[in-house]
Every structure is written in C-alpha cells, then in structure tokens.
C-alpha cells in the first residue's frame, strides 16, 4: 500500500445552494496524498456536486476549497485541471467523434508549451511534443488496459470501455488528484472486481483518488477512508469498517433501499 502523506485537497465548510435547494451544507473534507477516499451517500446526497465545486463547474455559495495550498475558488475550470485535478463524469462525456487515443492525447495537451504558431510552422519543439504526447497517451491506454481500442471512435466503444476511457482521459492530464464519479456504474460483479484492481493500480502509480461509488463491497475492498454524505451534510468520515457499522450511516444509506446500480 502506498504511503499516505500530507493533505492534498481540503474542503472547508463548503455550502452550495441552488435556489432553494441546499446541495451541500457546510461540508468539511480532506483528501490525503496517496490515498483512495470513497465518497458515498444516497441518490441526490450531493456527491457529484462536490466534484462540480472542486472542478469549478459551480462556484460554492460559501466556504473554501484548497488544493495544495491554492484556493480553487479563484481558478478558472481549465486552470484547476492544469493545477492537477482531473475528473470523470457520471454520465459519460467523452468526445465521441475522436478515437480513444485522440481523447487521451487531447487531455495530455494541458501541459504542453507549444501553441498555435508552433503547430503551424512545425517547430521542432511542437513536433517533439506531439510525439511525446502520443507515446504517453498510448502508455496510459495500456496502463488502463484498453490499448487494443486505441483507434476506435469513442462513441463506438463498448460501454465498459467508455467508462475506462474516461479514467484514461483524466490520467492524460497528469493529475495529482483524480476524481472518479461512479466509474463502476452499470458494471456486472466481475467487471467491478476488475475495475477495483485498476483503481488500486492507479493509486499505486502515485495518483491520489477521490471516488464516488454506490457499491459497498467495491468500496470496502479498496478505500482507505470513507466519507458519507446525506442531504448535503457529512454524517461520517472514517475507515471502512467503522463507517460500515455506524448506525447513522446504516439508517441514511444502507437502510434506504440502495439503488440497483
């Protein structure tokens, strides 16, 4: 198991309101370097909203999101990614008319220096970066185990491969922290086991993972810590075995008939 280090991401008393709906209510959350932190909670608890606030899709109503000493609230969305936070989407949002490889290459572009002029005149640096990115993207596909699909258009890929390509694309941006939004949604048990192994490998390769997932057994197997949200409020934050037996959690989450996915 990788060594768990200093705090990488910290949400301090974050509240997010949509009109009358309070999606997040004073949430405190810490993600430590090198860990897999699972974020769980019933449907509509505000899990995806946490991701949306971190990545700048929404600006929190109040509170602070701090990443590696930088307040993310002041950053543009693309800057958040450049700082080292990447995400996947609950409802897959790949670029369907690009190939799998191109999807990842496009993500690797974040850290490229050469711009439009370099591309136009084929400066050596631009050429070299093109080559490097292609190599790197291919390596990531191999790492996630979907390299055989590299030349297929994303929209024609099987569902499970699309989900994994989402992860590959996120890794393409060389993040420190990866946010995975229900990466196993719609998977059968065998696929889930495989995905759990993949997520572990991602962490062991040095990425920090914040994972939203409904499947308890998957979470219990791989996460170092579990945070439970209910109606926008954090009701538990501990190691899996403790959370699993927390009566509030059982009432809020497990007591409610969990959805089949």
């Amino acid at each position: 198991m990788a060594k768990i280090g200093k705090t990488l991401l910290k949400l301090d008393n974050v509240t997010m309101k949509f009109g009358g709906v309070t999606a997040l209510n004073g949430v405190n959350l810490e993600v430590k370097e090198g860990e897999i932190l699972a974020l769980i909670g019933p449907n509509g608890a505000g899990k995806t909203t946490v991701f949306n606030v971190i990545t700048g899709v929404y600006k929190q109503t109040s509170g602070v999101v701090d990443f590696d000493g930088i307040s993310l609230g002041d950053q543009k969305r693309y800057q958040v990614t450049a700082l080292g936070v990447a995400r996947t989407f609950q409802n897959i949002r790949l670029w369907g008319d690009m190939t799998a490889l191109e999807n990842v290459i496009t993500a690797t572009d974040v850290h490229k220096k050469s711009g439009l002029v370099g591309a136009l005149f084929g400066f050596p640096r631009a050429r070299r970066e093109e080559e490097e990115n292609r190599e790197k993207a291919m390596e990531i596909l191999r790492f996630i185990g979907i390299d055989e699909y590299s030349d297929r258009l994303a929209k024609n890929l099987p569902y499970g491969v699309q989900r994994r390509l989402e992860i590959a694309r996120a890794l393409g941006t060389s993040p420190k922290l990866v946010l995975l939004d229900e990466p196993a949604a719609g998977f059968n048990p065998a696929e889930k086991v495989e995905l759990a192994a993949t997520i572990k490998r991602v962490r062991d390769a040095g990425y920090t993972v914040l994972l939203i997932e409904h499947d308890m057994s998957l979470i219990m197997g791989i996460s170092d810590r579990v945070v439970v949200l209910d109606f926008g409020t954090k009701i538990a934050d501990d190691i899996p075995s403790v959370v699993q037996n927390d009566p509030r959690v059982i009432e809020a989450y497990l007591g409610v008939p969990a959805d089949a996915s």
Binding site: F51, V57, F89
Partner: protein
C-alpha cells in the same frame, strides 16, 4: 444634441410606447419558442414580414382600397381593421407552423445537434424572405390608409393620434389575452410544463409535438398581430423589413429574460422607448446600432435579462 429629445419628449414617449407594444408582441414569438425548445426561432422575423403582407393584401385586394381612396369610417372601418388583423395573424400563424414543420420537426426527432437545427432555421428564413422578394420584385409595397391618422387631442405638446391609441390599446389587449391563455388554459399549462422540464412533462403524458406546434402557432399569432399594428403605423412593407424588427424584438426578449412571457412585455416597452429616445439624440440611422449594442451589453452582463430567470445553466 438633446434639444429634440427635450422638445418632443411626450410625443416621442407616445411613439416609443406604441413601437414598444409592437416589439412586445413580436418578442413573444421568440420567447415562447425559446421557452419550450431552448432554441431561437430564427425565422420569426420573416414570419412577421409575411404577416405585414397579410394586412396589406386584405385592405388592398379584398376590400379594394387604393393609395387614393378615402379612409374608412364607422362600421366599415371596424370591419376592415378586424379583417386585416385576423388575416395578418392567420398568415403569420400558418407560416410559423410551416417553419416548425419544415425546419425544426425532423431534426428534433432525430435528436441531431443544435448547430444543424440552427442552420436549418436560418435556411428557412432565407427561403421565406427570398420568396417574398421574388413575389414583390424587390420593391417596397405601400399599404392604403384605412385608419385615418386624426389628431384626437394635444397633451403637453404631444399630438395624440388615433392610430397610436388604437395600437397601444389593441396590442395591450392582445398581449393580455395571450398571457391569460398561457397561464390558464390546459394547453398553456402544458406549454409551461414543457418549458420548465421537458422530460417530466413527457412523463406526465404531454404530447410534445402538439405542444411545440401550438407554441409556434401562438408565437406566430402574436407576431402577426404585431405585423398588423406595424402596417397601421408605418403603412408600407418590404421583403427585408424582418431583419431589423427581428433583431429588435429578439433584443427585447433577451432584455426581459428570454423564455419569460412577462419579461417580453417589459423588455419590449423598454426597448421601444430607448430606441425612440436614442434616435432623437443620435439620428435614426444609428437606431439599429443602438439596439445591437444594447443586445451585446445585456448578453454580457445580464444574460438572464433584467427581469428574467436563469437560461444558461450548465450541468456537468
């Protein structure tokens, strides 16, 4: 620079209000369709233009008025005006349904991207305006005067003219009726349900195609009524008058918060007044420029309009 504005303030205000009501009605054509489709009804400007010809044809070809005949009075006047209004609304309403059917429906069923629909709608508006250009030989067409522009009285140095008064009151009435229709009727409720949440409305058993067609129809009727008032005030039409009107009415809709029917009311009146005052100060040739600048400023700083609700939410 401001003398004209100060000298003629009240008559300008009156002109601004009557122009404003025309904008209110045309902007309904944008705002209602936007409400249900989340898409601009690009052809609304041409629906308006076709409506103006409905008005002209009624007085000229059905009732046989010419540029030299005497304006009508009494019962005949009411008959001609009402026929013109009905004809104008009918032509515009049918054109609107045609636009929906030809440019939007198929693409909606296929669920293709918005760019395709947008281009298709632009195509149909070009077709509509070019057809009229060919039919009228690119010439402006005058409308015989039916309603005499009598000066009723003078208040604070402003002439209160009959056509202005008719426009203001009749347009306000039509706006009111349409607004009630959307608020109270079954169909109106379905329209509002769809504009709030299309999926939920579908689950509740709303027939989406019928709602959308009706929305285009109602928007077209409002736009057609505006076309009638426009002709009563300005007395001529041309194949290309839609552009300026469309730009202004769209701006009015955005000002009021597009998708919001009450917003169209405030936005229309606001823009009507602003345009009249601005032309008095800057000269009429800069009218369109003023409108455009207003549009860009509103989109940039108050994209939800001065009176409206959110339109541009993104969800990830």
């Amino acid at each position: 620079m401001f003398e004209v504005l100060i000298d003629q303030f009240w008559s300008l205000t009156l002109a601004g209000i009557s122009l404003g009501f025309i904008y209110v009605l045309v902007s309904l054509g944008y705002t209602m369709v936007y409400g249900v489709l989340r898409m601009i009804n690009f052809a609304n400007s041409e629906i308006f233009m076709w409506g103006t010809f409905g008005t002209i044809i009624t007085s000229r070809d059905i009732f046989g008025y010419t540029q030299t005949s005497a304006p009508a009075t009494g019962g005949k006047l009411a008959l001609v005006l009402i026929s013109q209004l009905i004809m104008s609304m009918a032509v515009a309403g049918l054109t609107a349904i045609f636009v929906e059917y030809v440019a939007y429906r198929r693409l909606r069923a296929k669920g293709t991207n918005r760019l395709a629909t947008l281009i298709s709608a632009i195509g149909i508006s070009i077709v509509l305006s070019e057809l009229m250009r060919l039919l009228t030989d690119s010439r402006p067409v005058g409308s015989p005067r039916v309603l005499e522009k009598i000066i009723l009285t003078e208040v604070w140095g402003a002439n209160i003219r009959l056509d202005t008064i008719v426009t203001i009151f009749a347009a306000a009435l039509i706006y009111f009726l349409l607004e009630r229709f959307v608020q109270l009727s079954r169909m109106g409720k379905a329209i509002r349900a769809v504009s709030m949440n299309e999926d939920a409305a579908k689950l509740m058993g709303v027939n989406l195609n019928r709602v959308i067609t009706t929305t285009f129809l109602v928007g077209g009727l409002a736009t057609g009524a505006a076309a009638f008032f426009y002709i009563t005030v300005f007395e001529y039409s041309k194949f290309n008058i839609g552009f300026t009107m469309g730009m202004a009415a769209f701006t009015a809709a955005v000002l009021g918060g597009i998708g919001n029917i009450r917003g169209a009311f405030y936005g229309g009146l606001f823009l009507g007044l602003l345009e009249v005052y601005a032309s008095a100060v800057l000269g009429t040739q800069w009218k369109a420029v003023t409108v455009f600048i207003v549009l860009v400023l509103v989109l940039l700083f108050k994209p939800n309009g001065l009176f409206g609700e959110a339109v541009q939410t993104t969800r990830a």
